[in-house]
Symmetry: C2
Amino acid sequence: MPDIIEPRVLKGFRDYLPEAEIERQALIDTLARVFRSFGFVPIDTPVLEYAEILLGKGGGETDKQVYRFKDNGDRDVAMRFDLTVPFARFMAEHVDELYLPFRRYHMAKVWRGENTQRGRYREFMQCDFDIVGTDAAAADADIVLLIHDALAALDIGSFTLRINHRTLFNRFIANLGAQDKAPAVLRLVDKLDKIGPAEVEKLLGEEIGASAAAKVLEYIRPEADFEATLKKLESLAGGPGPDSQRLREIWDSARSAGAVGPGASGQLVLDPSITRGLDYYTGVVFETRLDAMPEIGSVCGGGRYDELASLYTKKRLPGVGAAIGLDRLLTALESLGRTKGRSGYTEVLILALEESFGPRYQGLASALRKAGLATEIFPEKKKLAQQFAYAEKKGIPYALICGQDEAQKGTVTLRSMESRENREFASMAEAVAFLGGKKGL
Amino acid sequence: MPDIIEPRVLKGFRDYLPEAEIERQALIDTLARVFRSFGFVPIDTPVLEYAEILLGKGGGETDKQVYRFKDNGDRDVAMRFDLTVPFARFMAEHVDELYLPFRRYHMAKVWRGENTQRGRYREFMQCDFDIVGTDAAAADADIVLLIHDALAALDIGSFTLRINHRTLFNRFIANLGAQDKAPAVLRLVDKLDKIGPAEVEKLLGEEIGASAAAKVLEYIRPEADFEATLKKLESLAGGPGPDSQRLREIWDSARSAGAVGPGASGQLVLDPSITRGLDYYTGVVFETRLDAMPEIGSVCGGGRYDELASLYTKKRLPGVGAAIGLDRLLTALESLGRTKGRSGYTEVLILALEESFGPRYQGLASALRKAGLATEIFPEKKKLAQQFAYAEKKGIPYALICGQDEAQKGTVTLRSMESRENREFASMAEAVAFLGGKKGL
């Protein structure tokens, strides 16, 4: 007999045991349902791609975070580190086979050799959704409304969706006469959460002078409501424009769809300090925080871009999209006590009381399943205490008892695992009806 | 502007465009529903593992098919090539945190550097399900019944599930006095489909003599029904035993659960020629073919094993399981014309008739979604022909028309994309009721 190999996973990787995986599947199912209700379709792309595709031609000195290697055919390949780059490649390759605007979602694993000391995992799921092939405001509004409906469907408490417009901000900076300093200003504004307004103002002053810095601080401070903030921004940016009109249309759309105001699950806020980094986005940007857990950061962010796939095609593919942080949401659901904590799906465990009743139990199980009740049979006659312990561990609400007694009388007994009470039914049909009623079938 | 990088995927890999991915998701959803109805729970394991774990300590001269490399921390790692080995490692590592018997399913991608000339892909999905921690016949029956219910749920036509027992076969070989030739006999019997009975008998004759070869041919020929075949096997194997009794119990269970006989979606056959390879299985084995497409091979096979995880633990973990060939099933569904051929989920497309109606359309979309109807808005005012073409390409059954006219009257018009007929409704509520009725809501 060979030595045992120690069973272990790589650092930064993890198994999903049933309880965690059931929770994750439930989250994925809920999100997929909302995506579909907005007309989004799923796609999938390979986990492995040419390194050149994922990293660009300049990918010589690879990012340490990328899993990159030579395959057995000596190809330079890498595991995807996000879903955006493969999607850009996908659109460039398949745009002529698709219809535009193209609304897709993709929930799948990505890999990054992150520093695990910061509690990061090297294998994690991403969830992206985009509308590509249109510049229209309606698409921006769709993404905002979809985020609202997705978080509402997750029953994760109230949230705040912050929105801003990069062009409006750029107009303001130009109006201030500081357009050559725009990247530096954006970078400092991005630090507002981390270092606070006083420090941001001080550092801005060093870049563009104290009076301009004060104007920036005035610009990024939200007012009492969406329209008041927007009016201020328009005035500081030199007047209304397509950018501010678009923000207004998004707001009006959200109100019309019930995603702001009474009945809405979250609030939509115009927050002029939101920038979402420096390079990628060219129009609206947004991020979303849970009101009960702002400290975990944005659970859903994104924005509008001009060119999705310019690395791979000369076709212009503008779009708007966002990504949901599945792991953050799972953490939040758990912290907020909103997880189901299910160890299994089974609703009825048929106890093994008689060795020879195997076929009989299978008949009962089949009848329960046909009635829509997830059912399993304890496979061998063991002590009842052991069978009950199994039901408890797996969170099975009912045990079905059918021994010699019941078989002779044609009855069955149901035991509620919670109340520990037994109840006898004159027939299997009556027991099925009772369980169906409990479940609301 | 940099040169364009040609968008392409690696040889043996492929994208899933919406129509194919929707089909695959539907298949996965259906299977998950059936697994859950039998009390199975999902788990997940990492895509990357230590090469030692996946390949064993002797994995020095690696199989060319495995994607194996050094990660940035100089660890010898590999991408999983099946779901069985990771599951064995998983059980060895977590058995004390779980409840036994443990019923799990796992549907996930695996990677093998297969020869693509045979039409094989290097990235594909596997679907495994097992009951671990019990020797009981009830677990064997569960797997058989689950296969039946899964294929029935897929509406893929009738099928034949062939079952056999390795121990019974071994008893027969011993009874024949040829136990030292058992592996050679099994190997030849395994070739029955490929080379035919005459050739098998000839080659067997060279191994064990003509008269014993004739006995083997008699043994592996099914009789008129399950019991007749089983009686013959028992007699040739030296009498009934726990092995033949187990086959009988599985048969009785299947009959009791309605998985054989009238009303069953497939048939269960005792086929003494089924061996499922040489090494792994120790009890019942089974495989399943679609009656309309036997040529694609087994779409679901498996069996009972004594030791799942002996590489990683000294704990004995017997079990029974099977794997469904998702790609084969998808191919079969397509060939048989049973795919849905859906390009999307959208049920209503709201046409863009007025630039300024964005918020109004979002309100209508929200009302439709609340009524359970997947709805999207065409995001910009383009020619109606273009908007209709989009609806047709995406297979959207209804277009909702709301222009100046309708807005003034408070009406909406629905156009059936199939019949090209328009129908006006006095209110949105009436249109929603009509669509809900069509859908059976």
